[in-house]
Structure formats: C-alpha cells, structure tokens
Symmetry: C2
Subunit: 262 residues, 2 copies
C-alpha cells in the first residue's frame, strides 16, 4: 500500500492573476477563469473561498463619503473616537448595537448578526480598479449568504460539480491580537460540525462537541489571501475531510442568552 | 509558462497511522516516522502542527482524580457549576483568574496567559493508550512554547531542515458557537504578522494591520486533526507564503489594557 494514498491531505490553491474587481463584474466567470489558470477542474466536494472585499466590490457596495450626512449620534461618536463622522454614520447604519467604543475603534453587532470592528466598513484599497475619484469606503456585502448561494449556483451549473462556497472576512478577537479569517457567508457547507453526544474511543461523551468548521476553513484560506491588494482573493480548497451539506451562518452566531461577553 | 507553477498552494498533510501516545514516548521520533509514512521529507519552511493533547500525554500531564483534594473554593464553584470538585480544583490550579462561571463551564485566564474554558482540563479520551485505570484528566502541557522549541530542535537536527512547530488546542470564542484550533505554543514561526504602516496599492495605510498567522495555521491544521481519538494529531504544512522567523505567544496575547471584554 502506498503511503501517499493513506495520508489525508487538505490542499488550498490561490487562483493566480485574479483581476481587480469592479461593480457589476461577473464574479463567477472571473473565478472559473482563475480555476482554469490554476490548472484545476472543479470536483465534487471542492470549496471556493472568496474574500468578502471582492464580493462587495462586484455588488457595488462602495459608498462615496461626500454624499453621507452624519446624524447627531454619529457626530458625537466621531468626537469620542476621532473617526470621520461620515464613516461613523455608515457604521451605525450597518449595526444593530454598539458594544464598545475606543479611540479609532467601534465594536458592534453587525446587522448580519456577528460582532466585529467598525461594522466592516473599510477605508483601504477601495479605489483599486474602480476608477473612482474622491473618498470612498467599502461596506460588507448586503447579504453574504445570498451572495454565496448565488455564486455556488453559477459555479455548480458551469462545472457540474457539487461545491461549497465561503465568503471570508478578517475579524479581530476578544482576547487575542491580530485578525483571522472568519466566515461571514456560506452555501453548501456546514458552518458548525456537531459532534455532540458522539462517544470517544472509551465510551465517554466528547467534551468538545461543536467545531467551527467554516471559520477554520476561512482562517486557512485567509493565510493564502494575505491582506489588501495582493491579488489572491479566491482560494480553491480540496480534501475537506467532512461531507458537504446545506449550511447557514445561524449555526455559528451565538444566541444572546449564551453570550457571556457582551 | 505553466499555470500550476504560478498558483500559490498551501498543502496540509495528516501524518497517517500515528500511534496512541503515552507518557515518556519519544514524540519527535514518532513524528519523523509519520512524516516518512506520508511519503514526505522535511524541507526548509515546513511547519509541523501538533495537537496539544499528545504533547501533554508524552509529558505525562495526566492526573488521577483520586489524588486531588479540592479546596473550599473549588467545592463552592463545583456546587455552582455542577462540575466535579476535583476537576474544579485542577482548573483553579491552572488559572490566574476566573472570568465567567456558568453551568458546567468555567472560563478562565489560564496561567499561560490565554482565555479558555475549563483551563483546558480535559476529561475525554484520557485513557487511550495510557494503560490507566480509574478516573483521570489531562492538563495542557506545562509550557507549550518550551515543548515546541524542544520538538523543533530535534526535528531540525534529524532532518537538517529549518522548520516551524505549532502546538494546537481547540478553543471556544466569545461570540461564536463552535471551537476552532488555536495556537498555544510555537517555535520558529511568527505568531503575528505585522503589516502596520505598510501602504496599500494607493498609498493609504492599511486598516487591518496585524494578522494572527499562527492561529490561522492552527485552525487550518485543526480541520484535518478532527476531534478526539481520530488518530490525526500531527499535521505537516508546506507552502506558507511568509518567511519563518523566531516567534512567541507573547505577540498574540492581548495586553490587559487593550482587553475590552473582560
């Protein structure tokens, strides 16, 4: 028996030479072309991880600051944080609740249900490939799960393969420095792997019971994506050792009554 | 130019058929044998990610509950949480501070500096391959960075390659369900990738500035490790798109004055 056959392998490939994405671009077509350039063919069980930034750009989620009128509340928080009041206004519009405020930092519960800094309103690299003058920011995709489902349908239709799609954003953590890739949208992929009640080798119930698979995969893809304008916004994943299934971000968002740190 | 040459690839391989680890086992030798079985040869820039559980087992960090005398404080918290008072006693010994207490859950700052549930004191699969009767639990390694350095020295000496070593544990998160693999010890690997002040394509300073690379890598490795007794406790990683360097867990542990959620 060959050793290489026994070894379980997870292979992540950054699609090479992806172009800068503009509003209205056909993202599935760009991804399929990138898959071809990588010398790959999509197979059942493959996952495509996409940086939220290019999903948002394709969906035209850029906002020119000139047109944003800050509310009184935004002006107050701008003073408190030293942030641009127009950006604060956009953060407030994207948020359900403000959790913490510090200099240059507003931690919120995003309208999509997760906790993140500055509601994902991003000021860096917004111009790239957009042909935009003036001051612009980029919001997160309107509905990243809908974006993932739509991407998945096209990629599946064109390839004939059964796929998972993951939308990845970089988030900070409560007690650790540094951002890590996290899932903000997905389709055809479990967000959570439920091992509750599965006995271990000796019949004890497993203590660790639910695994944040989509977040682990987002973190893995993020290693290759790098940051900012490095042109590796789409990662192909092969060899996930779990079957794909329909999934939802609801699985991973902690219900308020289980939230001990708000 | 071949497309496959252009594509950046991160390849994670679970070392096959790793034996159950007992106290005193020669972990570097077991890992080198597993690398061979996988058909791999260690190369400069490779990273070996090891489940903290087998590091702890090799170091004899199993504790028999029979010999643990709970303090008054442990008895009080045991009543409050419904946990075994002897396990609570061990959790207290492993902790600097208790952050939250709920039924069957004690969230602490571990003596190693990170926030985690139940101080990593683990009740599942402790017997496996240990030849132990009675009730035992497993503590985290005494000093996971020391363990990583020691592993790295041996693996480098035997292979002649310049390597990184990562000790991986599964942790919960503040606002998300499910555990993910996180770094608790490392050697020869940056914990944090510092991109502060690096301009993006258009000269703006990057907003996202520090990347939790070791945690992203731990999460990636954790996908293949699975949970409990599945026999994939060591993952070989090739293709990390960043240079290795000396690293430390201090980089990633959030200083108290920057902790907004305690």
């Amino acid at each position: 028996m060959s050793a290489a056959v026994q070894a379980e392998r997870l292979v992540l490939t950054a699609l090479p030479d992806m172009p800068l994405v503009r509003a209205g671009d056909d993202l599935p077509a760009l991804i399929l072309a990138g898959v071809g350039r990588a010398g790959l063919r999509l197979e059942d069980g493959d996952v495509i991880a996409v940086a939220s930034k290019i999903v948002a750009k394709a969906e035209g989620r850029t906002v020119e600051l000139k047109g944003v009128a800050p509310s009184d509340r935004a002006l107050r928080i701008a003073t408190e944080t030293g942030k641009d009041a127009r950006i604060v206004e956009l953060i407030l519009r994207e948020s359900r609740e403000i959790l913490r405020i510090r200099e240059d930092l507003i931690i919120v519960e995003h309208r999509l249900g997760f906790v993140c800094a500055n509601a994902g309103v991003d000021h860096s690299n917004v111009h790239e490939g957009q042909g935009l003058d003036g001051e612009w920011v980029l919001m997160l995709p309107e509905d990243p799960c809908r974006s993932a489902r739509s991407l998945r349908e096209r990629l599946q239709a064109e390839s004939g393969a059964s796929l998972g799609v993951l939308v990845v954003d970089s988030h900070g953590r409560a007690w650790r420095m540094g951002t890590v890739g996290m899932a903000i949208g997905l389709a055809g992929l479990p967000a959570l792997l439920d091992l509750r009640g599965r006995p271990d080798l000796f019949g004890d119930k497993l203590q660790v019971t639910q695994v944040g698979l989509a977040d682990e995969l987002a973190a893995a893809a993020s290693i290759l994506m790098g940051q900012a304008a490095e042109g590796r916004p789409v990662i192909h994943v092969r060899g996930l050792p779990y079957p794909l299934r329909e999934g939802s971000m609801e699985e991973v968002l902690r219900p308020m009554e289980l939230d001990l740190f708000r």
